[in-house]
Protein backbone atom coordinates (compact mmCIF):
# COMPACT_ATOMS: atom_id res chain seq x y z
CA UNK A 1 0.00 0.00 0.00
CA UNK A 2 1.45 3.39 -0.95
CA UNK A 3 2.15 6.02 1.67
CA UNK A 4 -1.11 7.59 2.72
CA UNK A 5 -0.05 11.16 1.99
CA UNK A 6 0.47 10.29 -1.63
CA UNK A 7 -3.00 9.00 -2.49
CA UNK A 8 -3.68 11.89 -4.84
CA UNK A 9 -0.28 11.58 -6.52
CA UNK A 10 -0.71 7.86 -7.02
CA UNK A 11 -4.21 8.35 -8.39
CA UNK A 12 -3.00 11.02 -10.81
CA UNK A 13 -0.34 8.64 -12.06
CA UNK A 14 -2.78 5.81 -12.52
CA UNK A 15 -5.61 7.87 -14.04
CA UNK A 16 -4.28 10.67 -16.27
CA UNK A 17 -7.71 12.27 -16.60
CA UNK A 18 -8.02 12.77 -12.86
CA UNK A 19 -7.00 16.13 -11.43
CA UNK A 20 -6.45 17.38 -7.90
CA UNK A 21 -9.32 19.37 -6.41
CA UNK A 22 -9.00 22.41 -4.19
CA UNK A 23 -9.79 21.44 -0.62
CA UNK A 24 -9.35 22.95 2.82
CA UNK A 25 -8.90 19.65 4.65
CA UNK A 26 -8.79 16.20 3.05
CA UNK A 27 -7.21 15.07 -0.17
CA UNK A 28 -9.62 15.63 -3.05
CA UNK A 29 -9.74 14.72 -6.72
CA UNK A 30 -11.85 15.68 -9.72
CA UNK A 31 -12.85 12.67 -11.76
CA UNK A 32 -14.63 12.49 -15.13
CA UNK A 33 -17.89 10.47 -14.92
CA UNK A 34 -16.52 7.66 -17.08
CA UNK A 35 -13.78 6.95 -14.53
CA UNK A 36 -15.60 7.52 -11.25
CA UNK A 37 -16.22 3.85 -10.59
CA UNK A 38 -12.66 2.86 -11.55
CA UNK A 39 -11.23 5.49 -9.21
CA UNK A 40 -13.54 4.51 -6.35
CA UNK A 41 -12.69 0.85 -6.89
CA UNK A 42 -8.96 1.63 -6.89
CA UNK A 43 -9.40 3.64 -3.70
CA UNK A 44 -11.25 0.78 -2.06
CA UNK A 45 -9.07 -2.12 -3.23
CA UNK A 46 -5.58 -0.61 -3.62
CA UNK A 47 -5.56 2.19 -1.06
CA UNK A 48 -7.73 0.68 1.68
CA UNK A 49 -10.52 3.25 1.65
CA UNK A 50 -13.11 0.68 2.58
CA UNK A 51 -15.87 2.79 4.13
CA UNK A 52 -18.08 4.96 1.94
CA UNK A 53 -19.20 7.56 4.45
CA UNK A 54 -21.13 9.93 2.27
CA UNK A 55 -22.47 10.56 -1.20
CA UNK A 56 -24.04 13.90 -1.98
CA UNK A 57 -24.22 16.54 -4.66
CA UNK A 58 -23.70 20.27 -5.06
CA UNK A 59 -25.92 22.42 -7.25
CA UNK A 60 -23.87 25.32 -8.63
CA UNK A 61 -27.12 27.04 -9.73
CA UNK A 62 -28.74 27.53 -13.08
CA UNK A 63 -26.56 28.99 -15.79
CA UNK A 64 -23.44 27.47 -14.33
CA UNK A 65 -21.99 24.60 -16.34
CA UNK A 66 -21.36 21.94 -15.25
CA UNK A 67 -24.25 22.55 -12.93
CA UNK A 68 -24.18 19.48 -10.70
CA UNK A 69 -21.23 17.89 -8.94
CA UNK A 70 -21.59 14.54 -7.20
CA UNK A 71 -19.27 14.20 -4.20
CA UNK A 72 -18.18 10.92 -2.62
CA UNK A 73 -16.35 10.79 0.69
CA UNK A 74 -14.47 7.59 1.35
CA UNK A 75 -12.76 6.72 4.62
CA UNK A 76 -10.13 4.18 5.49
CA UNK A 77 -10.79 2.18 8.64
CA UNK A 78 -7.07 1.30 8.79
CA UNK A 79 -5.36 4.60 7.91
CA UNK A 80 -8.15 6.81 9.28
CA UNK A 81 -8.07 9.24 6.38
CA UNK A 82 -10.69 10.67 4.06
CA UNK A 83 -10.57 11.23 0.33
CA UNK A 84 -13.11 13.35 -1.51
CA UNK A 85 -13.99 12.25 -5.03
CA UNK A 86 -15.90 14.83 -7.07
CA UNK A 87 -17.60 14.09 -10.39
CA UNK A 88 -19.18 16.79 -12.55
CA UNK A 89 -22.40 15.57 -14.14
CA UNK A 90 -22.24 15.88 -17.92
CA UNK A 91 -25.81 16.96 -18.66
CA UNK A 92 -27.11 20.04 -16.84
CA UNK A 93 -30.76 19.43 -17.69
CA UNK A 94 -30.93 15.68 -17.07
CA UNK A 95 -27.94 15.08 -14.82
CA UNK A 96 -26.69 11.57 -14.25
CA UNK A 97 -23.76 9.89 -12.57
CA UNK A 98 -22.53 6.31 -12.28
CA UNK A 99 -23.85 4.37 -9.29
CA UNK A 100 -21.41 3.01 -6.72
CA UNK A 101 -23.92 0.41 -5.47
CA UNK A 102 -21.78 -2.36 -6.94
CA UNK A 103 -18.87 -1.31 -4.76
CA UNK A 104 -20.56 -0.43 -1.49
CA UNK A 105 -24.00 -1.38 -0.27
CA UNK A 106 -23.96 1.94 1.59
CA UNK A 107 -24.23 3.82 -1.71
CA UNK A 108 -27.81 2.62 -2.17
CA UNK A 109 -29.55 4.97 0.25
CA UNK A 110 -27.14 7.86 -0.25
CA UNK A 111 -27.76 7.81 -4.00
CA UNK A 112 -31.50 7.54 -3.52
CA UNK A 113 -31.34 10.62 -1.33
CA UNK A 114 -29.24 12.51 -3.85
CA UNK A 115 -31.70 11.57 -6.58
CA UNK A 116 -34.57 12.65 -4.35
CA UNK A 117 -33.07 16.04 -3.58
CA UNK A 118 -31.32 16.93 -6.84
CA UNK A 119 -32.85 14.70 -9.51
CA UNK A 120 -29.51 13.20 -10.43
CA UNK A 121 -30.00 9.75 -11.96
CA UNK A 122 -27.48 7.17 -10.87
CA UNK A 123 -26.86 4.81 -13.77
CA UNK A 124 -26.92 1.21 -12.63
CA UNK A 125 -28.71 1.81 -9.33
CA UNK A 126 -30.90 -1.21 -8.60
CA UNK A 127 -33.79 0.67 -7.03
CA UNK A 128 -33.67 4.40 -7.70
CA UNK A 129 -36.72 5.69 -5.83
CA UNK A 130 -37.28 8.76 -3.73
CA UNK A 131 -36.41 8.17 -0.10
CA UNK A 132 -37.15 11.22 2.06
CA UNK A 133 -39.94 12.71 -0.04
CA UNK A 134 -42.86 10.60 -1.25
CA UNK A 135 -42.90 9.00 -4.68
CA UNK A 136 -45.40 11.39 -6.29
CA UNK A 137 -43.55 14.53 -5.19
CA UNK A 138 -42.91 16.60 -8.32
CA UNK A 139 -39.87 18.70 -7.35
CA UNK A 140 -36.21 18.32 -6.41
CA UNK A 141 -36.06 20.49 -3.29
CA UNK A 142 -32.31 21.03 -2.94
CA UNK A 143 -31.96 22.49 -6.42
CA UNK A 144 -31.20 26.16 -6.16
CA UNK A 145 -34.25 27.28 -8.14
CA UNK A 146 -36.57 25.63 -5.59
CA UNK A 147 -37.53 28.39 -3.16
CA UNK A 148 -37.51 27.93 0.59
CA UNK A 149 -40.98 29.31 1.25
CA UNK A 150 -42.96 27.95 -1.68
CA UNK A 151 -43.41 28.33 -5.42
CA UNK A 152 -44.25 31.73 -6.85
CA UNK A 153 -47.45 31.97 -8.83
CA UNK A 154 -49.54 34.78 -10.39
CA UNK A 155 -52.70 33.40 -8.75
CA UNK A 156 -51.73 32.45 -5.21
CA UNK A 157 -53.89 30.77 -2.65
CA UNK A 158 -56.08 33.50 -1.11
CA UNK A 159 -55.44 32.51 2.51
CA UNK A 160 -51.68 32.43 2.02
CA UNK A 161 -51.45 35.81 0.29
CA UNK A 162 -53.82 37.48 2.74
CA UNK A 163 -51.75 36.22 5.65
CA UNK A 164 -48.23 36.67 4.32
CA UNK A 165 -48.56 39.11 1.42
CA UNK A 166 -46.49 36.69 -0.66
CA UNK A 167 -47.62 35.39 -4.02
CA UNK A 168 -46.83 31.80 -3.23
CA UNK A 169 -48.43 28.42 -3.33
CA UNK A 170 -47.23 26.02 -0.71
CA UNK A 171 -45.29 23.00 -1.98
CA UNK A 172 -47.78 20.38 -3.19
CA UNK A 173 -48.70 17.55 -0.86
CA UNK A 174 -50.50 15.21 -3.24
CA UNK A 175 -49.89 11.59 -2.40
CA UNK A 176 -47.83 12.61 0.60
CA UNK A 177 -48.08 11.11 4.07
CA UNK A 178 -51.06 12.06 6.25
CA UNK A 179 -52.88 13.55 3.24
CA UNK A 180 -56.29 12.04 2.69
CA UNK A 181 -57.03 13.77 -0.60
CA UNK A 182 -55.25 12.90 -3.79
CA UNK A 183 -57.34 15.09 -6.07
CA UNK A 184 -60.36 12.98 -6.89
CA UNK A 185 -61.56 12.67 -3.26
CA UNK A 186 -63.19 15.66 -1.62
CA UNK A 187 -61.16 16.65 1.44
CA UNK A 188 -64.24 17.39 3.57
CA UNK A 189 -65.50 13.87 2.93
CA UNK A 190 -62.19 12.14 3.51
CA UNK A 191 -61.03 14.12 6.53
CA UNK A 192 -63.54 13.98 9.42
CA UNK A 193 -62.01 17.00 11.18
CA UNK A 194 -62.62 19.13 8.07
CA UNK A 195 -66.33 18.30 7.86
CA UNK A 196 -67.82 20.90 10.16
CA UNK A 197 -67.61 24.13 8.19
CA UNK A 198 -70.49 25.86 9.93
CA UNK A 199 -67.95 28.05 11.75
CA UNK A 200 -64.36 29.06 10.96
CA UNK A 201 -62.06 32.11 11.17
CA UNK A 202 -64.47 34.13 9.04
CA UNK A 203 -67.71 33.10 10.70
CA UNK A 204 -68.12 32.89 14.46
CA UNK A 205 -69.02 29.74 16.27
CA UNK A 206 -72.76 29.68 17.02
CA UNK A 207 -73.57 30.62 20.60
CA UNK A 208 -74.91 27.94 22.89
CA UNK A 209 -78.41 29.51 22.88
CA UNK A 210 -78.52 29.66 19.08
CA UNK A 211 -77.31 26.13 18.85
CA UNK A 212 -80.12 25.13 21.21
CA UNK A 213 -82.59 27.11 19.04
CA UNK A 214 -81.27 25.32 16.02
CA UNK A 215 -81.98 22.04 17.74
CA UNK A 216 -85.54 23.09 18.51
CA UNK A 217 -86.11 24.21 14.93
Amino acid sequence: MPATAAVTTALLEKFPQVSARASLDHEAVNVPPAQTLAVLKALRDDFGFDLLTDVTAIDWAMGHSPRFTVVHHVFSTTNHRYVRVATDCADDLAPSAPSACGLWAAANWHERETFDMFGIRFEGHPDLRRILMWDEYPHFPLRKEFPLAGIETPLPDFEVSAETGAKLIAAPMMGGPFVASSGEINLTEAEPSAKDESWNEGREKPKAAEAADGLKG
Partner: protein, 408 residues
Amino acid sequence: MSAEFSFPDAGAKTAVAEFETEKMSLSMGPSHPSTHGVLRLQLELDGEVVTKCDPVVGYLHRGDEKIAENMTYNQFVPYTDRLDYLAPLANNMAYAIAVEKLAKLEVPARCQAIRVLTAELARISAHLLGLGAFGIDTGAWTVFMYAFTEREKLYKLFEELTGARFTTSYSRIGGLQRDVPEGWTGRVDAFCDQFLPILEEILAMLTRNKIFMDRTVGVGAISKEDAVAYGLTGPNLRGSGVGLDLRKDRPYSGYEQYEFDVPVGTKGDSYDRYLVRGEEMRQSVRIIRQVVAKFPGGPWYATEAKRIFAPPKDKILTSMEELIQNFMIVTEGPQMPPGEVYFEAENPKGALGFFIVSKGGGVPWRLKIRAPSFCNLSILPKVCVGNMVSDVVSILGSLDFVMGECDR
Protein backbone atom coordinates in the same frame (compact mmCIF):
# COMPACT_ATOMS: atom_id res chain seq x y z
CA MET B 1 -44.64 -27.18 1.59
CA SER B 2 -44.40 -30.93 1.06
CA ALA B 3 -46.60 -33.22 3.07
CA GLU B 4 -45.14 -36.52 4.24
CA PHE B 5 -48.42 -38.04 5.27
CA SER B 6 -50.60 -39.79 2.69
CA PHE B 7 -54.17 -38.98 1.81
CA PRO B 8 -56.88 -41.57 1.23
CA ASP B 9 -57.80 -40.30 -2.21
CA ALA B 10 -56.29 -38.15 -4.93
CA GLY B 11 -58.98 -35.50 -4.59
CA ALA B 12 -57.91 -34.68 -1.08
CA LYS B 13 -54.28 -34.51 -2.13
CA THR B 14 -54.93 -31.48 -4.31
CA ALA B 15 -56.19 -29.76 -1.19
CA VAL B 16 -52.59 -29.68 0.07
CA ALA B 17 -51.91 -26.89 -2.37
CA GLU B 18 -54.37 -24.81 -0.44
CA PHE B 19 -52.08 -25.03 2.60
CA GLU B 20 -49.26 -23.33 0.68
CA THR B 21 -48.35 -20.38 2.82
CA GLU B 22 -49.29 -17.04 1.44
CA LYS B 23 -46.92 -14.12 1.98
CA MET B 24 -48.40 -11.44 4.15
CA SER B 25 -47.55 -7.79 3.94
CA LEU B 26 -47.27 -5.95 7.25
CA SER B 27 -46.74 -2.25 7.68
CA MET B 28 -44.86 -1.75 10.94
CA GLY B 29 -44.93 1.90 11.95
CA PRO B 30 -44.68 4.84 11.41
CA SER B 31 -46.29 5.12 14.84
CA HIS B 32 -45.30 1.86 16.44
CA PRO B 33 -43.65 1.95 19.88
CA SER B 34 -40.68 -0.16 18.80
CA THR B 35 -39.87 1.98 15.77
CA HIS B 36 -38.68 4.76 18.11
CA GLY B 37 -40.21 7.67 16.29
CA VAL B 38 -41.56 7.58 12.79
CA LEU B 39 -39.74 4.77 11.04
CA ARG B 40 -41.95 2.53 8.95
CA LEU B 41 -40.98 -0.98 7.93
CA GLN B 42 -42.86 -2.52 5.06
CA LEU B 43 -42.44 -6.17 5.96
CA GLU B 44 -43.27 -9.22 3.91
CA LEU B 45 -43.94 -12.17 6.16
CA ASP B 46 -44.06 -15.89 5.70
CA GLY B 47 -45.90 -16.90 8.82
CA GLU B 48 -43.94 -15.03 11.45
CA VAL B 49 -40.67 -14.97 9.56
CA VAL B 50 -39.64 -11.84 7.71
CA THR B 51 -38.87 -12.54 4.06
CA LYS B 52 -38.45 -8.96 2.91
CA CYS B 53 -38.01 -5.66 4.68
CA ASP B 54 -38.34 -2.28 3.05
CA PRO B 55 -37.75 0.63 5.45
CA VAL B 56 -39.71 3.76 4.62
CA VAL B 57 -38.03 6.84 6.02
CA GLY B 58 -38.69 10.54 5.60
CA TYR B 59 -41.75 11.07 7.79
CA LEU B 60 -39.77 13.60 9.82
CA HIS B 61 -38.07 15.31 6.89
CA ARG B 62 -37.89 19.05 7.50
CA GLY B 63 -35.43 20.07 4.83
CA ASP B 64 -32.66 21.06 7.26
CA GLU B 65 -30.08 21.23 4.47
CA LYS B 66 -32.25 23.60 2.45
CA ILE B 67 -32.85 25.71 5.55
CA ALA B 68 -29.09 25.86 6.21
CA GLU B 69 -28.48 27.37 2.77
CA ASN B 70 -30.77 30.23 3.68
CA MET B 71 -29.35 31.40 6.97
CA THR B 72 -26.06 32.34 8.60
CA TYR B 73 -23.79 29.78 10.24
CA ASN B 74 -24.75 30.74 13.80
CA GLN B 75 -28.46 30.74 13.01
CA PHE B 76 -28.23 27.08 12.08
CA VAL B 77 -27.01 25.98 15.53
CA PRO B 78 -30.55 25.45 16.92
CA TYR B 79 -31.34 23.21 13.95
CA THR B 80 -28.45 20.92 14.87
CA ASP B 81 -30.18 20.32 18.24
CA ARG B 82 -33.01 18.74 16.34
CA LEU B 83 -30.90 16.22 14.45
CA ASP B 84 -30.09 13.70 17.15
CA TYR B 85 -32.30 15.31 19.76
CA LEU B 86 -31.08 12.89 22.40
CA ALA B 87 -27.59 14.35 22.30
CA PRO B 88 -27.93 17.96 21.13
CA LEU B 89 -24.73 19.02 22.87
CA ALA B 90 -22.70 16.59 20.77
CA ASN B 91 -24.36 17.81 17.55
CA ASN B 92 -23.69 21.44 18.48
CA MET B 93 -20.04 20.60 18.96
CA ALA B 94 -19.70 18.63 15.71
CA TYR B 95 -21.26 21.45 13.71
CA ALA B 96 -19.17 24.14 15.37
CA ILE B 97 -15.93 22.23 14.73
CA ALA B 98 -16.88 21.68 11.07
CA VAL B 99 -17.39 25.40 10.52
CA GLU B 100 -14.24 26.22 12.48
CA LYS B 101 -12.29 23.89 10.19
CA LEU B 102 -13.61 25.95 7.31
CA ALA B 103 -12.44 29.14 8.99
CA LYS B 104 -9.16 27.48 10.05
CA LEU B 105 -9.91 28.63 13.56
CA GLU B 106 -8.50 27.06 16.72
CA VAL B 107 -10.54 27.44 19.86
CA PRO B 108 -8.79 27.76 23.25
CA ALA B 109 -8.15 24.75 25.48
CA ARG B 110 -10.92 25.67 27.91
CA CYS B 111 -13.50 25.76 25.12
CA GLN B 112 -12.30 22.38 23.86
CA ALA B 113 -12.48 20.88 27.35
CA ILE B 114 -16.01 22.16 27.91
CA ARG B 115 -17.06 20.74 24.57
CA VAL B 116 -15.58 17.33 25.36
CA LEU B 117 -17.25 17.39 28.75
CA THR B 118 -20.66 18.23 27.31
CA ALA B 119 -20.30 15.75 24.46
CA GLU B 120 -19.52 12.92 26.86
CA LEU B 121 -22.41 13.86 29.14
CA ALA B 122 -24.60 13.86 26.04
CA ARG B 123 -23.27 10.43 25.13
CA ILE B 124 -24.23 9.06 28.53
CA SER B 125 -27.65 10.65 28.23
CA ALA B 126 -28.21 9.24 24.73
CA HIS B 127 -26.98 5.77 25.62
CA LEU B 128 -29.17 5.72 28.75
CA LEU B 129 -32.20 6.41 26.62
CA GLY B 130 -31.13 3.85 24.06
CA LEU B 131 -30.67 1.30 26.82
CA GLY B 132 -33.96 2.12 28.51
CA ALA B 133 -35.89 1.90 25.25
CA PHE B 134 -34.09 -1.32 24.31
CA GLY B 135 -35.09 -2.71 27.70
CA ILE B 136 -38.75 -1.90 27.03
CA ASP B 137 -38.52 -3.42 23.56
CA THR B 138 -37.34 -6.69 25.05
CA GLY B 139 -39.71 -6.62 27.99
CA ALA B 140 -37.76 -5.03 30.85
CA TRP B 141 -39.56 -1.96 32.08
CA THR B 142 -37.43 -1.31 35.17
CA VAL B 143 -34.30 -0.44 33.20
CA PHE B 144 -36.13 2.42 31.59
CA MET B 145 -37.11 3.88 34.96
CA TYR B 146 -33.57 3.73 36.31
CA ALA B 147 -32.12 5.17 33.10
CA PHE B 148 -34.55 8.05 33.00
CA THR B 149 -33.92 8.95 36.62
CA GLU B 150 -30.25 9.40 35.72
CA ARG B 151 -31.10 11.33 32.56
CA GLU B 152 -33.15 13.70 34.68
CA LYS B 153 -30.05 14.50 36.73
CA LEU B 154 -28.13 15.12 33.52
CA TYR B 155 -30.87 17.44 32.29
CA LYS B 156 -30.54 19.44 35.50
CA LEU B 157 -26.84 19.86 34.71
CA PHE B 158 -27.58 20.82 31.10
CA GLU B 159 -30.17 23.32 32.21
CA GLU B 160 -27.74 24.94 34.58
CA LEU B 161 -25.11 25.16 31.84
CA THR B 162 -27.15 26.15 28.81
CA GLY B 163 -30.51 27.37 30.10
CA ALA B 164 -32.33 24.57 28.29
CA ARG B 165 -32.90 20.96 29.18
CA PHE B 166 -33.46 19.50 25.76
CA THR B 167 -32.55 21.79 22.86
CA THR B 168 -29.37 23.27 24.19
CA SER B 169 -27.91 25.26 21.24
CA TYR B 170 -24.78 25.63 23.32
CA SER B 171 -22.00 26.06 20.78
CA ARG B 172 -21.19 29.08 18.70
CA ILE B 173 -18.78 29.28 15.80
CA GLY B 174 -15.48 29.97 17.55
CA GLY B 175 -16.68 29.40 21.06
CA LEU B 176 -19.65 28.69 23.26
CA GLN B 177 -22.81 30.36 24.33
CA ARG B 178 -21.35 31.02 27.78
CA ASP B 179 -18.73 29.81 30.23
CA VAL B 180 -19.50 27.07 32.77
CA PRO B 181 -21.26 28.35 35.93
CA GLU B 182 -19.47 28.51 39.26
CA GLY B 183 -18.97 25.04 40.75
CA TRP B 184 -20.58 23.26 37.81
CA THR B 185 -17.67 20.91 37.11
CA GLY B 186 -17.80 19.85 40.76
CA ARG B 187 -21.43 18.93 40.34
CA VAL B 188 -20.56 16.97 37.19
CA ASP B 189 -17.97 15.07 39.21
CA ALA B 190 -20.52 14.43 41.94
CA PHE B 191 -22.93 13.12 39.31
CA CYS B 192 -20.26 10.69 38.09
CA ASP B 193 -19.65 9.47 41.66
CA GLN B 194 -23.24 8.49 42.22
CA PHE B 195 -23.85 7.45 38.59
CA LEU B 196 -21.27 4.65 38.37
CA PRO B 197 -22.88 2.31 40.94
CA ILE B 198 -26.30 2.94 39.42
CA LEU B 199 -24.93 2.17 35.96
CA GLU B 200 -23.60 -1.13 37.26
CA GLU B 201 -27.02 -1.84 38.70
CA ILE B 202 -28.74 -1.01 35.40
CA LEU B 203 -26.36 -3.18 33.40
CA ALA B 204 -26.65 -6.01 35.93
CA MET B 205 -30.38 -6.07 35.28
CA LEU B 206 -29.77 -6.96 31.63
CA THR B 207 -26.32 -8.45 31.07
CA ARG B 208 -27.00 -11.91 32.53
CA ASN B 209 -30.75 -11.72 32.34
CA LYS B 210 -32.11 -14.94 30.81
CA ILE B 211 -35.02 -13.27 29.02
CA PHE B 212 -32.87 -10.44 27.69
CA MET B 213 -30.18 -12.83 26.47
CA ASP B 214 -32.76 -15.04 24.76
CA ARG B 215 -34.07 -12.01 22.94
CA THR B 216 -30.68 -10.63 21.88
CA VAL B 217 -27.88 -13.21 21.74
CA GLY B 218 -27.37 -14.29 18.14
CA VAL B 219 -30.18 -12.03 16.93
CA GLY B 220 -29.46 -9.63 14.09
CA ALA B 221 -25.80 -10.53 13.71
CA ILE B 222 -23.92 -8.19 11.37
CA SER B 223 -20.56 -9.36 10.07
CA LYS B 224 -17.53 -7.09 10.04
CA GLU B 225 -17.58 -6.92 6.25
CA ASP B 226 -21.27 -6.07 6.07
CA ALA B 227 -20.96 -3.40 8.74
CA VAL B 228 -18.23 -1.64 6.77
CA ALA B 229 -19.93 -2.13 3.40
CA TYR B 230 -23.16 -0.57 4.65
CA GLY B 231 -21.32 2.36 6.15
CA LEU B 232 -22.26 1.62 9.75
CA THR B 233 -20.53 3.76 12.35
CA GLY B 234 -20.50 4.20 16.09
CA PRO B 235 -21.50 1.45 18.54
CA ASN B 236 -23.16 -0.54 15.75
CA LEU B 237 -19.88 -0.80 13.83
CA ARG B 238 -17.87 -1.48 16.97
CA GLY B 239 -20.37 -4.13 18.02
CA SER B 240 -19.40 -5.97 14.85
CA GLY B 241 -15.75 -5.95 15.89
CA VAL B 242 -14.36 -2.99 13.97
CA GLY B 243 -12.52 -0.84 16.47
CA LEU B 244 -13.16 2.46 14.74
CA ASP B 245 -13.69 5.43 17.02
CA LEU B 246 -13.07 8.89 15.55
CA ARG B 247 -12.25 10.24 19.01
CA LYS B 248 -9.24 7.92 19.01
CA ASP B 249 -8.45 7.68 15.31
CA ARG B 250 -8.95 11.27 14.24
CA PRO B 251 -8.86 13.15 17.54
CA TYR B 252 -10.64 16.49 17.60
CA SER B 253 -11.28 19.02 20.34
CA GLY B 254 -8.37 17.65 22.40
CA TYR B 255 -9.57 14.04 22.71
CA GLU B 256 -5.96 12.89 22.31
CA GLN B 257 -5.19 14.09 25.86
CA TYR B 258 -7.62 11.71 27.49
CA GLU B 259 -7.21 8.04 28.17
CA PHE B 260 -10.08 5.77 27.32
CA ASP B 261 -10.69 2.37 25.77
CA VAL B 262 -12.75 1.57 22.71
CA PRO B 263 -14.93 -1.47 23.39
CA VAL B 264 -15.60 -3.79 20.46
CA GLY B 265 -17.93 -6.75 20.08
CA THR B 266 -17.11 -10.16 18.67
CA LYS B 267 -20.28 -11.46 17.01
CA GLY B 268 -22.05 -8.27 16.00
CA ASP B 269 -25.44 -9.34 17.34
CA SER B 270 -27.91 -7.25 19.30
CA TYR B 271 -26.33 -8.37 22.55
CA ASP B 272 -22.86 -7.18 21.49
CA ARG B 273 -24.21 -3.79 20.53
CA TYR B 274 -25.82 -3.55 23.96
CA LEU B 275 -22.55 -4.50 25.68
CA VAL B 276 -20.60 -1.92 23.67
CA ARG B 277 -23.00 0.85 24.70
CA GLY B 278 -22.81 -0.16 28.33
CA GLU B 279 -19.02 -0.07 28.32
CA GLU B 280 -18.97 3.22 26.43
CA MET B 281 -20.82 4.88 29.27
CA ARG B 282 -18.13 3.74 31.72
CA GLN B 283 -15.47 5.11 29.36
CA SER B 284 -17.35 8.40 29.06
CA VAL B 285 -17.30 8.72 32.83
CA ARG B 286 -13.55 8.10 32.66
CA ILE B 287 -13.11 10.89 30.14
CA ILE B 288 -15.31 13.27 32.12
CA ARG B 289 -13.26 12.70 35.27
CA GLN B 290 -10.04 13.47 33.39
CA VAL B 291 -11.51 16.65 31.90
CA VAL B 292 -12.72 17.82 35.28
CA ALA B 293 -9.37 16.98 36.92
CA LYS B 294 -7.35 19.13 34.51
CA PHE B 295 -9.97 21.69 33.63
CA PRO B 296 -8.01 24.44 31.88
CA GLY B 297 -8.43 28.12 32.63
CA GLY B 298 -8.13 30.98 30.20
CA PRO B 299 -10.55 32.27 27.59
CA TRP B 300 -13.48 30.07 26.57
CA TYR B 301 -13.87 31.49 23.07
CA ALA B 302 -11.55 32.47 20.21
CA THR B 303 -10.75 36.01 21.30
CA GLU B 304 -8.84 36.94 18.16
CA ALA B 305 -11.59 35.93 15.72
CA LYS B 306 -13.19 39.34 15.43
CA ARG B 307 -15.33 38.60 12.38
CA ILE B 308 -16.57 35.26 13.69
CA PHE B 309 -17.30 35.29 17.42
CA ALA B 310 -19.33 38.09 18.95
CA PRO B 311 -17.64 39.93 21.85
CA PRO B 312 -18.97 39.82 25.45
CA LYS B 313 -22.22 41.67 26.03
CA ASP B 314 -20.86 44.24 28.49
CA LYS B 315 -18.28 45.30 25.90
CA ILE B 316 -20.95 45.54 23.19
CA LEU B 317 -22.98 47.91 25.34
CA THR B 318 -20.05 50.16 26.25
CA SER B 319 -17.62 50.18 23.36
CA MET B 320 -18.14 51.33 19.77
CA GLU B 321 -15.79 48.87 18.11
CA GLU B 322 -17.37 45.84 19.80
CA LEU B 323 -20.84 47.14 19.02
CA ILE B 324 -20.00 47.27 15.30
CA GLN B 325 -18.34 43.85 15.50
CA ASN B 326 -21.45 42.35 17.08
CA PHE B 327 -23.69 44.07 14.53
CA MET B 328 -21.72 42.65 11.62
CA ILE B 329 -21.75 39.11 13.00
CA VAL B 330 -25.47 39.20 13.73
CA THR B 331 -26.51 40.71 10.41
CA GLU B 332 -24.02 39.14 7.99
CA GLY B 333 -23.02 36.04 9.90
CA PRO B 334 -19.54 34.83 10.79
CA GLN B 335 -17.35 35.47 7.76
CA MET B 336 -15.93 32.33 6.15
CA PRO B 337 -13.42 31.83 3.36
CA PRO B 338 -14.51 29.95 0.22
CA GLY B 339 -13.74 26.24 0.15
CA GLU B 340 -14.96 22.76 1.03
CA VAL B 341 -14.62 20.91 4.32
CA TYR B 342 -15.93 17.62 5.60
CA PHE B 343 -15.82 16.88 9.28
CA GLU B 344 -17.12 13.86 11.15
CA ALA B 345 -17.45 13.63 14.91
CA GLU B 346 -17.99 10.50 16.96
CA ASN B 347 -21.53 11.06 18.18
CA PRO B 348 -23.50 8.64 20.36
CA LYS B 349 -25.20 7.16 17.27
CA GLY B 350 -22.11 7.12 15.06
CA ALA B 351 -20.16 9.48 12.86
CA LEU B 352 -22.11 12.70 12.38
CA GLY B 353 -20.63 14.46 9.37
CA PHE B 354 -21.00 17.96 8.00
CA PHE B 355 -19.91 18.69 4.44
CA ILE B 356 -19.82 22.44 3.94
CA VAL B 357 -19.31 24.15 0.61
CA SER B 358 -18.66 27.84 1.08
CA LYS B 359 -18.41 30.59 -1.50
CA GLY B 360 -17.31 33.00 1.22
CA GLY B 361 -19.50 35.17 3.43
CA GLY B 362 -21.78 34.24 6.27
CA VAL B 363 -24.09 31.70 4.60
CA PRO B 364 -23.10 28.23 3.38
CA TRP B 365 -23.63 27.45 -0.29
CA ARG B 366 -24.32 23.83 0.53
CA LEU B 367 -24.43 22.05 3.85
CA LYS B 368 -24.80 18.30 3.79
CA ILE B 369 -25.49 16.44 7.00
CA ARG B 370 -24.20 12.89 7.04
CA ALA B 371 -26.56 11.34 9.55
CA PRO B 372 -25.32 8.16 11.25
CA SER B 373 -28.84 6.88 11.90
CA PHE B 374 -29.63 7.11 8.18
CA CYS B 375 -26.63 4.94 7.29
CA ASN B 376 -27.22 2.55 10.20
CA LEU B 377 -30.81 1.95 9.12
CA SER B 378 -29.81 1.16 5.54
CA ILE B 379 -28.68 -2.29 6.69
CA LEU B 380 -32.21 -3.23 7.85
CA PRO B 381 -33.26 -4.91 4.55
CA LYS B 382 -30.34 -7.26 4.99
CA VAL B 383 -30.36 -7.90 8.70
CA CYS B 384 -34.12 -8.32 9.26
CA VAL B 385 -34.67 -11.02 6.65
CA GLY B 386 -34.98 -14.50 8.16
CA ASN B 387 -35.81 -13.22 11.62
CA MET B 388 -39.13 -13.35 13.43
CA VAL B 389 -41.19 -10.18 13.79
CA SER B 390 -40.37 -10.04 17.50
CA ASP B 391 -36.67 -10.18 16.61
CA VAL B 392 -37.10 -7.17 14.36
CA VAL B 393 -38.12 -5.27 17.51
CA SER B 394 -34.92 -6.41 19.21
CA ILE B 395 -32.80 -5.46 16.19
CA LEU B 396 -34.36 -2.00 15.99
CA GLY B 397 -33.77 -1.47 19.69
CA SER B 398 -30.14 -2.52 19.41
CA LEU B 399 -29.44 -0.31 16.37
CA ASP B 400 -30.49 2.67 18.51
CA PHE B 401 -31.44 5.22 15.87
CA VAL B 402 -33.08 8.63 16.00
CA MET B 403 -35.43 9.59 13.22
CA GLY B 404 -34.88 13.32 13.67
CA GLU B 405 -31.36 12.72 12.47
CA CYS B 406 -32.20 10.09 9.88
CA ASP B 407 -34.80 12.23 8.10
CA ARG B 408 -33.26 15.64 8.74
